[in-house]
Symmetry: C2
Subunit: 332 residues, 2 copies
Amino acid sequence: MATIYQVSELAGVSLATVSRVMNNNARVSEATRNKVLAAMDQLGYRPNSIAQSLASNRSNSVGILVSELHGPFYGEMLSGIENECRAAGKHVIIAAGHSEEASEIDGIEFLISRSCDALILHVEAVSDDYLIKLAAGNIPVVLINRYIPQLADNCICLNNELGGYLATKQLLQQGHRQLAYIAGPMWKSDAKDRYAGHLRAMAEYGATFNPALFAEGDFQDSSGSACMQQLLDKKLPFTALVCANDEMAAGAMEVARQQGLQVPEQLSIVGFDNLILARYIHPKLTTIDYPIGEMGRMAARWVLKHIYQQQTLTLKNVFEPALVCRESACAR
Amino acid sequence: MATIYQVSELAGVSLATVSRVMNNNARVSEATRNKVLAAMDQLGYRPNSIAQSLASNRSNSVGILVSELHGPFYGEMLSGIENECRAAGKHVIIAAGHSEEASEIDGIEFLISRSCDALILHVEAVSDDYLIKLAAGNIPVVLINRYIPQLADNCICLNNELGGYLATKQLLQQGHRQLAYIAGPMWKSDAKDRYAGHLRAMAEYGATFNPALFAEGDFQDSSGSACMQQLLDKKLPFTALVCANDEMAAGAMEVARQQGLQVPEQLSIVGFDNLILARYIHPKLTTIDYPIGEMGRMAARWVLKHIYQQQTLTLKNVFEPALVCRESACAR
DNA sequence: TAGTATGATGTAAGCGCTTTCATTTATAGC
DNA sequence: GCTATAAATGAAAGCGCTTACATCATACTA
C-alpha cells in the first residue's frame, strides 16, 4: 500500500502539499496539483482513513442505534440515513438496542467507543435525563421519534397527533359515528399523541366518545388480536376501528375475520405507519403514512450540517403524516 | 479525554505496561495490573479506538454490503451479523448496493476505503471474476447467498435445490399432480436451483411436468401477479402453485382471489423465504424457511475465526431450508 | 529600487497507541 | 553465594496523516 511519503517523493513535493491536494482545502498551483495527482494515480494511492481520522480528530462516521435491525420500519430509516451519509463520504456504524434500557446504553457506549462523530438514536427505554446528559457531552446526538423539549432542536418527529386525527377523520367523513380505538402502550408519547388526535377528530365531528370502545395494546399484532376480541366480547356496536399501528390492525382484522365480520363492509379498519405489510394483508389496509425513510434522511442531514458544516442543507424537525386510502375502510 | 500517558503517569508505569493491561496480551504482575486499572478508573480512561487501529493496523470493523437496507430479508441478516460481531467487540459498517453492478462496486470500494478488516457481501450484479479478484486481494471476503466454486470456503449458502424440492414435495404428498411454477429470474443461481428442486420432486413422484405451466417472474410481487394471470389465461388445469419466493406468491394469491379462486380449497400455493409477510397474508402462506439470520451469524463467525483468530468457532457453509406449513396449501 | 501583500510550498511536531528489543527484577537450582 | 532462566517492565520507534507556522517566490505600488 502506497503512503503519502511515496506520493510526495514521486511528485517531488512535500507531504503537506500532497495532503492539500488530497483534501482540496488550500491553494495549490495547477501544475503542482497535476504532479501530485499523477503520482497518486501511478502508485494506486489510497488514503488510510484511519490515519486521517487520528490526525484530524474526526472519524467521519455516524453511529446509529435502533431498536432492532430487522423489521420494515427500521430498514427504511437505516436506508435513508446510509444513503445520505454515504453521498457525503461518511460511513455508518450500526448497533441494536432491543428496546431495553441496559442494552440501549450498552449500544450507545459501544458507538461512543468507536469515536463516532455523531449519534442518531431511535431509542425507547432510556430516560430523558440520560439523553439530556448525553447530548450535553462531547458527542452530538439526534433523536428520531423521540421528543424531549430540552433537546427540541435535536429531535426529528412525526406529528402523531395529526396522524391520529387523520385516521379518525377519514372514518368520520365516511359516515361512521361509532368508532372503537386500539391504542399503543400509553406510556409511549407516540401512542398518547395518536390517541389525542383521535379524540380531537371525534370531538370535531360531534361523535360521542365511548370509553368502553377503547383498548390498550402493545403495538404487536397479537395485542391487536386480543384487544379486538375484548372489544367484540363487550357486544357494543361499532362500525369502524382505528388502530394505533398497522401490526395491531392486522391482528384485529384476523380476529374480525374469525368472528365472521366482513371487512370493510361490516367493519372498517384504519391502521398507522404504512408498513409494507399493509399492502399484503387482505383487504389492503387503509393507513397513515409515516415517512420514516425521509426522517432518517433528515437526521443524516442534521448531522452533515451541524458536524460537517454543510450549510446548504435546510432542516425540518417535524414531519407530517398522510392518509393512504386502500380497501379496509369504506363508507357506512 | 484521558490518554495512555496520563494513565501511565498516575499508575507510575510505562506506556507499554498500560497497553499490556488494556489488551491483556502479555504477562503483567497482579500488583502492577491493579495499579493501572485503578488509574484508568480514576481518570475515566477510554481508549481511543482510532489510535488503536492505526497502531495495530487493524480497524476492528466488518463491512457489510447488502442489496437494500430496507426489506425483511436483509434486516434479519444484518441483525445476525451485528449481534455476533458486537459480542466480539467489532463494529459493523453498512452500505447498500441496490443490485446494480456499478453501485455494488462503489459500495465495496467505499467499505475498502474505510479499512474494514473483512467484507461480508450479499451481492448479485457483480461478476464472479470481480469477486474472485477481490478475494485474492488484501481484504478477506465472505459471500452470502452467492456460490462461487473457486471461493467455496468463503461462501455461505442455502441449499436452494432442496428448498425447491421440499416446496413441491409437500404439494405432491398432498395429492396434487398438476402443478404450476412461478420462477425467479433464471439468470440467478438461486432461482435456477429452486427450479431444479421442483423438477426433481416432480420426477420423483412421477408427476408430469408441463412447460406451459411455467412462468418466469423477477421475485417482485407484481411479477407474481403477472405470471399468475398468464398461467390462468392459458386455461390449463392446475390445482397447485409453487412460487420461487413469498412476494411472488403474495402477488399470485391476489390475482387468484380476483379471479374467484378459493385458496387453498381450489388452488394450493407454496412460497419460499418465510418472510414476515407470509404470516400476514390471508390465508397464511405455507412456505420454505430461509434461515437468513443464522446465515448472517455464520458469516460473522467466519470473519471472527479467520481474521480475529477465534478458533473455538465451528463453521458451516451450507444451510438447509425447512418447510413451514401454514394455511395456503391443503390436500387435493 | 525597496517595501508590502499575496500566493504557494516546506518543515516540524504531533494525533494516541502498539510492539519490538533492551533492561531490570525475581526465582530456582547447584 | 553464584549462575542461569524466567518474569516483568521500560525505552524508543513508528503507524499514516494533518496542520500551524515558517519560508520562499512573485506581483504591485510608492
